[in-house]
């Protein structure tokens, strides 16, 4: 064992001997230790909690990951896997420091099998790169998070990512067939595979969404989905948020399952319009981006039905994307909406909650009211068809008081989601951000069972400590206290 002394903040820096060992495994260019390099890895998209890892490792093979994990165990140092760091709940925050295993250099597409409808990829592959690789084959990889131009498939597996088109096609877990996993003790295990219906427990389904706490996925077998034969993309423009949310309810209740059904409110329209100039009306309270797909013979009827339902709910206008360029621009506006928010505010916190779809009008009203009460500007762009809201709270991270109000408004909105029968996260995960909410959603028994499941994978708690479950990890890692978030945000 290496002798290490706790730093003033209670964390234990890694020993120079350990860094030497990593250099021998990965070569010098696979090991980052300089402070100016580590700062890149100090947080994900959840910027209010930051903690740089002691060392960042960039393996290129499963064997290297195995050696890293074994070495970490030998030195009793915690480790956390990371993809592109686009997560929004601190899922890859290196709580307690230690080793970060960044999988971004493992980005090969190893196999594409169209007849058996699967592809085998490495975890660092960027989501969109797989879809681009498949262009022209008639198949695609269905989960399409808004960050798909940057986020990795491995990260999608860890967080069970969604995206606009998951309304019809399902989230990541519905599209993962198999995984190669380096277990927290260094064993390599194959879970599932391209043949479906294997006997025994669905460990693939269990692993997806485990936020890095079950091990490090080093290879993913994903299901490929047929491209739709045809689609129609509509833009419904509404005078009030209430009318728009009622229209959503009516569409779902009519038994229509659009491929995507997204809402943007006035605040976000303003930012998106300034950034991309689509021609959104700046005086509209909300727009719905609705896509139906399916057979060419059926999509027009479905589109007409949706237009009628929108008009019945008082839509000012429903536009159709007449060309592929118009459709692409609409989706760019939606998916890159977050990038446009920089025009509104220096910092923002994207919340993620879910309510039963018929409760959307209620939660939207509550969000507006909470924003006013806490004097925090909140804009909305979200997966309306799933009832998955994304209020974006705008603030300046140099202002501690604003941050405190952001936390209070967030907590109230998420609490309201629970009260309405929903969840505090639909796709971003618990990470470190929402640990406190776990005890509000789940009983002690629920959490004890979840903790026992983690014991089967990660008994020492060395892999991604301090995540997902509010109990302290086996290593005694405490999650970063949010009592002085302003200080952490500013640090």
């Amino acid at each position: 064992m290496a002798s290490t002394q706790p730093a003033p903040d209670g964390t234990v820096p890694v020993a120079a001997e350990l860094v030497d060992r990593f250099c021998r495994i990965l070569g010098d260019d696979g090991v980052l230790t300089a402070a100016d390099e580590l700062v890149v890895y100090e947080c994900d998209g959840y910027v209010v909690e930051k903690k740089a890892p002691d060392v960042v490792l960039l393996p290129t093979t499963t064997e290297q990951v195995v050696e890293i994990v074994r070495t970490c165990n030998e030195f009793d140092v915690p480790f956390v896997p990371r993809g592109a760091g686009t997560s929004l709940a601190g899922g890859c925050l290196p709580v307690g420091g230690g080793v970060m295993i960044a999988l971004t250099r493992m980005k090969r597409i190893l196999e594409v099998n169209l007849q058996d409808r699967y592809a085998v990829v490495e975890p660092g592959l960027v989501n969109l790169h797989l879809t681009r690789h498949l262009a022209g084959t008639g198949f695609h990889y269905a989960p399409d998070p808004s960050s798909q131009g940057a986020c990795t498939i491995g990260g999608n597996v860890a967080t069970n990512s969604g995206g606009p088109h998951t309304l019809k096609y399902g989230v990541t877990v519905n599209h993962v067939l198999g995984l190669e996993v380096v277990m927290p003790d260094g064993r390599v295990v194959e879970l599932g595979g391209p043949a479906e219906g294997l006997a025994g427990y669905d460990l693939v389904g269990l692993f997806v969404g485990s936020e890095g706490t079950f091990g490090i996925c080093t290879r993913v077998t994903v299901r490929l989905t047929r491209d739709p034969e045809a689609y129609r993309t509509l833009l419904g423009i509404f005078e009030t948020v209430g009318d728009a949310t009622q229209a959503i309810s009516q569409i779902i209740a009519a038994g229509i399952v659009p491929a995507a059904l997204e809402m943007m409110d006035q605040g976000i329209i303003e930012a998106v319009e300034a950034a991309y100039g689509f021609g959104f009306p700046l005086d509209a309270a909300a727009v719905l981006l609705i896509e139906v797909d399916g057979l060419e013979v059926a999509v027009d009827d479905e589109a007409e039905q949706i237009i009628r339902l929108c008009e019945e709910q008082g839509a000012r206008e429903v536009r159709r994307a007449e060309t592929e360029q118009q459709r692409a621009l609409l989706w760019k506006c939606r998916k890159q909406a977050f990038g446009a928010i920089g025009r509104l505010s220096p910092s923002y916190c994207t919340q993620d909650g879910v309510v039963p779809r018929t409760k959307l009008p209620e939660i939207l009203e509550f969000i507006i009211e909470a924003g006013e009460r806490h004097e925090i500007r909140i804009v909305n762009v979200f997966h309306a068809g799933d009832g998955n809201i994304h209020p974006i709270l705008l603030f300046d991270e140099r202002d501690e008081d604003q941050i405190a109000r952001v936390f209070r408004a967030s907590d109230e909105i998420l609490g309201k989601c629970i009260d309405l029968g929903g969840s505090v996260t639909g796709e971003h995960g618990i990470g470190v951000e929402k640990l406190e909410f776990m005890e509000r959603m789940f009983t002690e028994d629920d959490l004890a069972v979840m903790a026992s499941v983690r014991m089967a994978f990660n008994p020492r708690g060395s892999c991604s400590p301090g995540k997902m479950l509010p109990t302290a990890g086996a290593c005694g890692m405490e999650h970063i206290e949010r009592s002085r978030p302003g200080k952490q945000a500013a640090s």
């Binding site: 879970l191 013979v297 629920d446 997902m468």
Partner: protein, 429 residues
Amino acid sequence: MNEGRKSMVDGPGELIPATIPELGRLLAANAKGERRPVLPVGGRTALGFGFPADPSSLEVSTSRLDRVVDYPARDMTVTVEAGCRVASIQASLNSEGQRLPVDVPLAHRATIGGAIASDAGGPRRFGLGTLRDYVIGIRCVTVDGRPFKAGGRVVKNVAGYDLCKLMVGSGGGLAVVTEVTLKLKPLPSSSAIGWACFDRGETVSDLLVDMATSRARPVAIELLGPKAGRQLAVESRQELPVGPLLLGVAVEGNAVEVEWQVEVIDRELRAGGAPDVTWVRDADTAKLWSVLTDYQLGGEAPVTIRACTRPSRIVEFVVAAIDAGVAVQAHAGNGVVHCHLPDETIDVEAAAAVIGSLRELAVAGGGQVIVERCEFGWHNKLLMWGAPRVDWPLMNSVKRQFDPDGLLSPGRGIDGAMQQAAADGMVVE
């Protein structure tokens, strides 16, 4: 809750609690007292699966836990207790123009809890997925009586570990499922299944390659051997083509979608070498769907096995099975196959030989062969789950976390498969 109702005890071996809390109390009492092995029981349609239950088991039936807890149709979700019969759930969903699009064998008897435990499915898994895609919330009771839940009542939710997935197909070996929330789909207004016969496996293989990129979007692609084909025609009272290989391709949707797809598939089947195509439409498909779904149970066959392999290897597998005299139904688009060994399989050695050769083929395709049912006494002589896979020890660790003392359905699932493989001298890491 029906606290006023008393639990019924059917003989010394079966408990039928009236409420979920009562189920918890009974399990807790057993865990603290007699510590008998516990066998969760639903509609008794899958109890014969796999390794036999310990004869001293305390059966805990969910049949009185049959309330619909909440059906907010406009949210397209339903929450039901585990003892609800699948067909009765479907009937209430259908009245709202919705359905759970999963084919469950003997749906009038099968309970939703049992369907989840056994990961029941059928032909439409090709286009519509399996139970794992529809269970969004679950409540269970551990073998020592502690209630727990995971997921919730909303269609998208990543709070906590996804224990819903873990429970689907857990075979009653981890916990007793007491309540589930399901995501629903609209009920299609029209359906059609086209049937065609082929003489040669190669013709079907080529056709399936083309069908993978058909402009139509089938919900099921079924490939049946002659025995299964005959039984299907007799039981469904439909005039179906007769031949060595019977291929069925099904579509669903509104009338326009179905009509257009029927034309496309009809053309594709004929271009692929089908001498004729017989279409069964709308109301007439109902009986076909139920026969296609129930066929896997196998009636009186001495041995029933389930195989999985890659879809591209399916025809090779089906042809080998037919050559061995096996009655075979394949969900060809998924690579899942149900096989019933012939009545002439009178001894376990003959059964083992057939299973062995089919198993080799399935394993070569990345899959597996599981013996689902066999004659009494053959369980110990047939390798029920085959050679151990690399994830079995991890599955066994999960089992031990839930059931450290092996009281719940002991030896019926992964624990039984591990013991058998070890006894057979196979290394299990």
